[in-house]
Structure formats: C-alpha cells, structure tokens
C-alpha cells in the first residue's frame, strides 16, 4: 500500500514537474512557441516520456487551464468573507487582479489566449469558470439591493465589472501599463477600483484606514 502510494505520488510529481516546466516556458516564450521537445529538454527527459503523463500537447494546456481556474477560484474564495457587499466586491476585484498579475501565464491561458480547441475549452470554463461568474453576480445583486448600484440588468453590471478587472489585468500583462512603475501598480489598482466602485456611491474610501466609510453629509 505504502509502495503503491509512493509510486502514485511520484507519478503525480512528474506530472506536476511537466506542468510547471511547461508553464515556465510559456511565460518565457509564449504558448505557440512551446514544443513538447522544449519541455522534455528542460526536464532532461525524452519527448516520448511526456506522452506517458499526458495524452498530447493539448492535454497539457487544458490541465494548466483547469488548474488556473481552480487556483483563481480558491484565491477568490478566501477574500469573499467580508460582510459589506461593496467592500466584498472591492476585495474580489483586488484578488482577481492580484491573481492575474501574480500568475500571468495562467491568466493568459485562461482568458487571453486564443482557444486551442473549442469544445473542451467551453466545458472547462463552464465548470469552474462560470462558478466564479455566478459568485460575482450574487455579489452584484447584493450591492444593488443595498443601493450601492443603480438598478440595472445584473448581467450587464457583472460583465462590466469583470471587464474592468480583466482590462486592467490584461493590459498590464501585455505590458501596456508601462506608465506605472512596477512598485506603483498595486496602489494604482487600488485607486482604479475605488474609481469604479466607491465614487458610484455616497460612501467614501478611507485611504488611511483602507476601508470604506459612509459619507458624512449624506
């Protein structure tokens, strides 16, 4: 039993190694330029070995994609415990962008890359990706109910907010944010989120204490 377990763990470690290596190479050179041979060379195995762990190149991509969705989901979940729906949304956006910037290869694979194969992609997206989206919609609804947002079609607002964070993340990932120094990005994101969310309401953002405060004279 123990032996079998160790074997399985080793197998799993190899898969992980391949995935990690693939991801590093993706980051370096972009997906379209990565070959099975590249990956094999990097991990110092033969190309044929890769095929012992993955059916084909696409499977590696799909696995990484799914992994990405799972990671993102986890990452967001933790930051969704806040009571106030607006602050929750704020945190949610922050987490989303943080994930994207900390895992640009994953993010690219998940939302920016041209889909390699249509069918599976959508299946994947639905599974976990849509779960994330539904979460966002719930949040939006609560904000609307709380009067933070004008009453509108929820899908439109949700999509708008998603577009906002996606736009920020993807422009930065593609190097379009050069006007902000590396170390200023975080605070820029913060302010951008405020620009979107807080100014919509009577509330103000307390920059000192990093929290939203009710407006005085409202």
């Amino acid at each position: 039993m123990s032996i079998k377990q160790r074997k399985e763990q080793e197998k799993s470690e190899m898969r992980t190694l391949i995935l990690k290596t693939a991801m590093n190479l993706f980051l370096e050179k972009g997906f379209e330029n990565i070959t099975i041979r590249n990956i094999a060379e990097k991990i110092e195995y033969s190309p044929a070995t890769i095929y012992l762990y993955f059916k084909n190149k696409d499977e590696i991509l799909f696995t990484l994609r799914r992994e990405g969705f799972e990671k993102l989901y986890e990452h967001q979940k933790t930051s969704l415990k806040l009571d106030d729906p607006l602050m929750r949304l704020h945190k949610h956006g922050e987490a989303y962008i943080q994930f994207a910037l900390e895992n640009p290869e994953y993010y690219d694979l998940m939302f920016m890359m041209r889909g390699p194969v249509k069918e599976m992609q959508e299946t994947n997206d639905c599974d976990i990706g849509l779960a994330s989206y539904e979460l966002l919609k719930t949040n939006v609804k609560e904000c609307m109910d709380a009067g933070h947002f004008p009453v509108m079609n929820i899908d439109i607002v949700a999509f708008s907010l998603w577009s906002y964070v996606h736009g920020i993340a993807s422009l930065i990932i593609r190097g379009r944010g050069i006007m902000f120094p590396e170390e200023g990005i975080k605070s820029m994101v913060e302010e951008a989120l405020n620009f979107m969310l807080v100014s919509k309401t009577e509330k103000k953002w307390d920059l000192e204490n990093k929290q939203i405060i009710s407006g005085v004279n409202v």
Copy 2:
C-alpha cells in the same frame, strides 16, 4: 520622375493587396493558422513574391498593427468633436469598442496578441498608439476640471477607462460575452458605459433622447 512615381505606386498597391489579403485570411482563420503560402495563393502570386514587398512574415504583422493603430485613431477622431467632455468620453469609449468589435483581428493584433518581437512593438505603440492615449488623458482632464470625476491622478483614471473598454472588447472578442445575444451587444455596451460614466456624476442619462442630462436636484 513620373515613371519612378508610378513604379512606387505600383509597389505600394501590391503591398496593400498583400496586407488586405492577409487581413482577410486572418479574420477567417486566425493568424496562427495563416501561412505565407496561404496569402500568396489567395493573391495568385508565388510565396517568393511576398518577400519582395515584405522582409518577412513579422513585417506583415507589424505593418498591419500600425495600420490598425491608424485606423483606430481615425475612427476615434471623428467622434471627438462633442463639446461636453463627459459625452465626448462616452462617445470615445463607444467608438473604441465599436472599432474593436468590427475589426477583431486588428484589435487582437494591436492589444491582445503577444508581441512577436519586442523591439518593434514598442516603437509602434509609441508612435500612434500613445497619441491615442494622450488624447484620452486630455479628455479625462477636462472631465475632472468640469467636476465630472473626483480629482485623482489622471494617468490612473485614463488607464482605468482604457481598461474598461479594453476589457469589454477583449472579453467579447474571446467569446466570453455569450450571455449576451449577438444583437444585444450594442445596447449592453451602451449601458456598461453609462454604468461607468454617468452614475459617477450627478447627471443622469436620458435614455429616450440618448443624451446626458443634468440631474434634477443638483
């Protein structure tokens, strides 16, 4: 001189033909699937001929990119004659998204695709791309001056607005906007822009007359 000119014009016409053909093919099947041979076949020349007009495949891409930036710039210019800065911004965003959705392959090439070669990319972007961005910043400043926006770092607001429209456009281009039926996209974009811009101010959006009206009790 006249002969020389005609020669040059012919040369230029051929370049145009190649570019146009390449773009059509890109639109049909996506860049990654287009080969020099494809383009050559379509225009009924030999692949070698392409190389008389373009150094290599990348040059075609770069030229198309620059073309895209020019087209976008033109497209936006026309819609920037409005007096009111907020309405101007609104129109600007609308025009931007419209361009992206009507020319997805250009847009992909300009803002979504991984830069094939670093050096040239940045040169290009600066030239015309940054001109567009500067235009946006001017606009933002005027909105701020007019009290439409909270007073903030202009770069942040400009980048935020850009992110917003980029996010909307690129998610739709990548097929993430499936929750909106094809024919509903335009009105969704409209509402999304309102969500971003109008609700920020005391003003209201007059849906009947398609224009921003001053808020009643302000």
Copy 3:
C-alpha cells in the same frame, strides 16, 4: 518435477493467451496496426511481460504462422479420408479454401504477407507447409494414375491446383470477390472447384447429391 511441470504449463498457457489475443487483434484491425502495447493491454499485463514469453514481435508472428500451418494441416487431414482421389482432391480444395476464409488472418500470415524475416520463414514453411504440399502431390499422382488428369509433370499440376485455391482464397480475402454476395461465396467456391476438376474428366458432378458420378457413356 511436478512443480517444474506446472511452471512450464503455466508458461505455456501464457504464451497461448498472448498468441490468441494477438490473433484476435490482428483479425480486428490487421497486423500492421497492432502493437505490443495493444496486446499487453488486452490481456491486462504490461508490455514488458510479453517479452518474457517472446523474444520480440516477430517471434509472435512466426509462432502464429507455424500455428497456422499446423491448423491447416489438421483441417486438411480430416478431409482426406475419401477413397476416390478426385473427390479427395475436391474435398481437399474445399477444405483449404474454407480454412483460408474462416481464418483470414492466419492465411494472410501464412501465404500472403511479405515474410518479415527471410531466414525463419523458409524453415517454417519446409517443416509443416511442405508436408501439406507433399500430401497434395500424392493426391495428384493418384488422380493421374486413375486417369482423371492428363499425364503431366506432377509438380506442375500440384502447383496449379494450389494456385487455384490460393487464388480464390486470397482474392476473396482481399475483397476482390465483391461480385459474389457473402452468402453465395460457398456455392461459388463449390462450382469453381467443379469447373476445375470435374469438367476435366468424363465424369459429371451430381449437384443433387453433392457427389461426382461417372459419366454415362464411359
């Protein structure tokens, strides 16, 4: 001794299992498409295990070939008890073709396939294959002695008869007999044999009673 025997029997059973499985797969998809891995998967052993019982892929083929020759020999033997040499020959041909059509993959391996390795092939053929051929020759001689055939070189007649049945069998196996419906093949073969054998003599074939009868005026 008993233990050793059991060991050997187990070994032999495993060989049999591998051979049987290989044959089934060959039948399904043709040799060229069968891999050691396929066979291993079917019997739920590892590919490496196959190599404990067979030196290599070729050995499996050779063994099956030999097996085929043995099977054919057995199949023919049963049908060679008839007294009349001509009828015996008729039955012999029928049995040969029947074997081929019922075991197309064996037959392919034995007589149609390109020999994978020269050396072994000939050894095999001589052993049992030639035994069959000698049997045929004896038969032919008896027919000749009985006046059924013109007096000719026995080898030529034997080879001719072999060619005949081989031709019929192999054309059908390769799908060249499409002019005959599946269920009509058997009677076609029957008639073809009559065409060859019976019309050579004064004898007639009694279609009713399925036997050769002496011609009236002989």
Copy 4:
C-alpha cells in the same frame, strides 16, 4: 511556350523519378517499410521536396497503383487480338502472369497488398481494374458460346480463371514456387494454363507448334 513545356516536363520527370525510386525501394524492402525519408535520401533530395510533387505518402502509392492498372491494361490489350476465344484466353492469362512476374512490385501493390485507404482504392479499381475484368468476362462468354466451356455462371468462371492466374503469380512472387528453377517458370506457366484450359475441351494443344489444334480422335 517551349520554356513552359520544358518546365512541365522536368516536373513530370521528377514525379517519375520519385515513383520509380519508390517502386525500387518497395521491391527491396516492402511497402510498409518505406518512408518518405528513404525515398528522399535515395534521390538525394530533402523529404520536403517529395511533398512538392505528391500530397502525401498515400498519393504516391495510389499513383503507382493506378499506373500498374494502366500498364496491365496495355499489356493485356496487345495480346487480345487473337480470333479463337480459347487461344485468346490462353494468351490473356499468359500476359497477365507475365506482367505480374515482370512487375512484381506493381502486382503486389495492385492485388496483394492490404489496401492502405479503402475509399480511393475501390474507385481506382473500378475505373481501370474493372475494365480488365469485364474484358475477361466477354472472353469467357465467347468461349462458352463456342462450346469450350460448360455452360455456367459467367461470373464464376471469370473469377475462377482470374483466381487461377492470380494464384500462380502471387505464389511465385511470394517465393512459393521454389520447386521450379527460375528458367523453368515460363514453361511451367504455359503448361499450367494448358492444364486449365485445353484439357477442358476436345481440343489438344500442339506443343510443337505452340497452338491449339482441334482433334477429334487425336
């Protein structure tokens, strides 16, 4: 015009060279063992060059196959001018076998090899291959009308005769005719054909003068 023609001729010569080389290699090592690389090496070109002349490996095979059918058809046509249907059939068979033995690679490809791709194969066969078969049937009919053959289903007799010559040819090609010395094969074939055809009738074969003679009581 002349230049264009020469170009075309050169192109055609290259195709021919590839086909011829492929055929030689097939003969040497069997189809299944021939690779595009092999062929390329032999003609001292790069593998990619092959693809300028043939879409893929299969196209080479199909072309050779069709070529084979055409060659066979031509070969047979010349020998079908004889008046007497039986002699014509005799000559026909002789020509068939001669073609097979002189062009074993072609013959293998046409009638012995496992079909690489089903669809095209049958198309090809029908076109020219079936033309040959129809020719044979016509011949058989005439023989029957002339009383040389018992009255039977024509398809059965035609198929039987085809089987006969195919059997002879394919056994020899696969090396099963070792009992006949190389130089004796031709006369063996002759006698085998007589065994099949002449002894069926009252006619006799005049070995001296190489012709069939009627003989009532001879």
